[in-house]
Symmetry: C2
Subunit: 526 residues, 2 copies
């Protein structure tokens, strides 16, 4: 794959088209680009408003501000489904026009056509009803989680699942009905492929878990390192320096605080990260959140500017995006190499807390197997089993093989089977994630795919940067980040994730690299 693919469209047209066609087509292209620009501008505005609500808006701003965001989304929806959009997509997609377009424009059209058909297959009324239910469901979820009572959420979730089933039915799909939802987050991924991938992943992880006894975790792993107090101003300095070192550019970004960490792409010069408010006793959480969101942030800051204002100015997929956050959080951030570098860094700012502690001890501490009941705080092994539980339930729900009424029972059974425990209540079971209340069906699998992609990419990085280990030990991340820019970030959504991974690593998506990585890590530890 060569960067030339991102050349300017007008050059390719001047090269290929006659004068008459050129001018007419140029006008159509300009019109199409203008429409996309308006859509992308409305989207950026809505995103900034959401960021503001999450980070610092006054409490009483929320009522009207939510309506403003909904107005912006609705203007965006109107434009995306407008006759103008339909007509220009139809016009440019004609083979006679298509053949003059460069790759960026072709892919943009493909994406926009897909999106247009998706949106047009739902009536504006039922879409609006769905958005309403979803909005209500999210606050109901909060309350239900607090009360540990799934029955509160059930009526809302039923409607959401019903809507999803309906969408799948009217939209048409190939193979399993769930494919349609998967494809939204992970284009090209199917149940047929994913069943194999996850089966293999599950077998391997269970094999590793069989070989380790959590109770025999090396006694060197001290619980006490990150239970010490860390000054919050120094935490901030350390984390800003780390992000800078990773290549996250503060003249194109910010770091703020929000109840749930996230990374947000606004435009090529504005990518924002958030982590929880600093707290003296929560340094470890802040650090790994910064590594995680920093990975997303690097991706967002380095998508080719040629893609700006097109539907391709995003990551290749949720899975590929997650591969970047997981790469920094786990593959780098939970490696012994990293702690050789970072323990030294921390010793400068926190000499007393780091006194007498070795990189190996921290390495053990941040890789503890705890078989957590909660997905978000679980270790690198069981995390994926949490995902597979959710994937299998979603699949059955969408196919109509499982009903929302039977979901808690199915949840418990699967959890028992894969993770070996029964949730003691709905709060630590089926209500632990907000995703379903948000209508995010098809999303969970991308977290595990992120782990898988990250490991596949890492194997290639190690070939291209043979001294990566010693570089990480010195905190030299430039080569790594540049490798990701050149191989992944630049291309945005130009290629489907499967093709991108194949193009870069030479292999289909598969779990070998990831399970090797896990087996090596835990055999080293035990």
């Amino acid at each position: 794959m060569s960067r030339r693919v991102l050349g300017n469209v007008s050059i390719s047209i001047l090269e290929k088209g006659g004068v008459y066609i050129h001018i007419q087509l140029q006008q159509k292209i300009a019109y199409y680009k203008q429409l996309n620009k308006r859509i992308s501008h409305l989207d950026e505005a809505a995103r900034l408003l959401n960021w503001d609500l999450s980070t610092g808006a006054p409490p009483k701003a929320i009522g009207v501000r939510s309506e403003v965001i909904s107005t912006l989304s609705s203007e965006q929806y109107k434009l995306s489904t407008s006759d103008e959009m339909g007509d220009i997509l139809f016009e440019l997609s004609k083979p006679d026009n298509m053949k003059h377009l460069n790759f960026i424009l072709k892919r943009s059209l493909e994406e926009d056509n897909k999106n247009y058909l998706r949106l047009m297959s739902i009536s504006p009324e039922s879409y609006r009803d769905y958005i309403n239910i979803r909005t209500q469901a999210q606050s109901v979820w909060k309350n239900a989680k607090f009360k540990k009572d799934f029955s509160l959420l059930k009526p809302y979730l039923k409607k959401i699942v019903e809507f999803k089933r309906q969408v799948v039915k009217t939209s048409g799909y190939k193979g399993h009905p769930y494919n349609f939802l998967l494809d939204e987050y992970e284009p090209g991924m199917t149940v047929e492929k994913l069943d194999k991938i996850f089966y293999s992943l599950k077998e391997n992880i269970m094999g590793i878990l069989d070989n380790v006894k959590i109770s025999e975790y090396p006694t060197k792993a001290k619980n006490s390192i990150f239970t010490q107090e860390f000054d919050v101003t120094k935490q901030e300095n350390v984390i800003l320096k780390l992000l800078n070192n990773m290549g996250f550019c503060m003249s194109k970004g910010r770091l703020d605080h929000s109840p749930h960490p996230f990374a947000l792409r606004l435009n090529s010069g504005d990518v924002r990260l958030t982590i929880n408010k600093f707290h003296p006793l929560k340094f470890k959480g802040a650090l790994f959140a910064a590594l995680h969101e920093g990975g997303h942030g690097l991706y967002n800051q380095n998508i080719g500017r040629e893609l700006e204002n097109t539907p391709l100015f995003v990551g290749a997929s949720h899975g590929v995006h997650e591969s970047q956050s997981r790469f920094w959080e786990n593959i780098v951030g939970r490696s012994l190499d990293f702690w050789y570098y970072f323990k030294q860094e921390l010793s400068n700012d926190f000499p007393s807390q780091m006194k007498g502690i070795s990189p190996e001890e921290i390495y053990l501490d941040v890789n503890k197997l705890d078989n957590s009941k909660i997905r978000t705080s679980s270790d690198e092994l069981s995390y994926n089993l949490h995902i597979i539980v959710r994937y299998e339930l979603e699949k059955s729900l969408i196919a109509g093989e499982l009903e929302v009424d039977d979901l808690p029972k199915a949840w418990s059974e699967k959890t028992k089977e894969y993770l070996g425990f029964l949730p003691k209540d709905d709060g630590e079971g089926i209500l632990q994630d907000i995703h379903w209340a948000k209508g995010y069906f098809g999303y969970f699998p991308t977290y595990a795919l992120g782990n898988i992609y990250a490991a596949q990419l890492t194997e290639k990085v190690k070939i291209d940067i043979p001294d990566i280990s010693s570089k990480i030990r010195k905190g030299e991340f430039t080569h790594i980040t540049n490798w990701m820019i050149d191989n992944i970030y630049t291309y945005g959504k130009l290629l489907p994730p499967g093709e991108l991974i194949k193009e870069v690593t030479g292999e289909e998506v598969n779990v070998k690299a990831f399970t090797n990585y896990l087996a090596n890590k835990y055999s080293e530890i035990f």
Copy 2:
């Protein structure tokens, strides 16, 4: 004036209309309200984006973000000039419909009709050209000011003035052509009225200045109070406490920092103030900026919610808005009563800085006559002369009696005549304000009108709250703020400023109160 005017529209319609008309008209009204809501939502989004650019957006966000703001404005423009808007305005404005509408709806229609005609009288192309020139002119102004060279700005200013003259010509106007521009900022104000007001103001101020000799300013006025260092964290605490005391509600607002202080209304639950970054040596500036913007903020936080999403959800005029900032900054903040309270406040946080300093000394310090060459830093007397210089020049420019080429000479002559000095270069003369580069012709007079209104309102406040002086000495501001809410804020733009002032004070707009206030203050000081 009674608050009942803000009752719910549907009640008044149910009372007055027959069933058939009621339903039809209700639908039209709902449609009209929906249009206004969309416009107001787009406006709020654009405002928040601008706030973000001024307060904390990464430097490289600006390029695309400016385009996003311009897209939002253009969507707003399209809606405001759409056939839908034109048709519904025409429809509802029919006498048969109008008679069923309540006062809020009638006034909304009036405002929207006015705005619609204003926008329709300009072709979209020439409006776009104007916006472009204006955007360029602002950055040219910065450079020209830095180089102290008006000739750089001249070609841009010529185009702006030409556009304004054209707008005035095609829009039609009564009396003086400048009336049309004045009316945009100060509805109902005319050159015919303002000439009289400003003539009287000028005569009075010059009379006061004749009686005082700046060189004989009381020697008690120490320059040294605010040249001490004030800890920035304590500055922030003191200022937040003061704003809270004034009645500015932080659950409906924020205080941030920006290069130029401003107050921003986003919605009824979100009003934001900014002042310069705190600096140990710039406490006085921060304090008076907070009082000033706090005054705007109180107005913005207390406009009747019944007016939300209508064109009336703003201040009555720029002048009335400014009356509130001036009231808090000058009439309260530069009073001896205030310093009896606030010196005590400051003594808690800054005991060493306040040691041995009396309220009287601070009072003299913050009321020094310095005959500054710069409008924004001039005292309460000469400030208004700066405004009158600009007003007279603008008037002549718009009438075609003065050309941009001759502006610097005219500026110098007027400044010499009214203020007694010649600017030593363009930087401290004609380039000191950005307003003209922004196309703000008709704006300057509202600053002086703000002073005049503030003094008229104060006379009425003193009647209604006889012990106001002792209340201020104790820092009890609740009665004052409530008075402003009940008499001014609630009504938003329901009444034109002249009528509002008359309604509240019983008098036409006149300079008596303001010149009495000035004469008393400076006779007390000298």
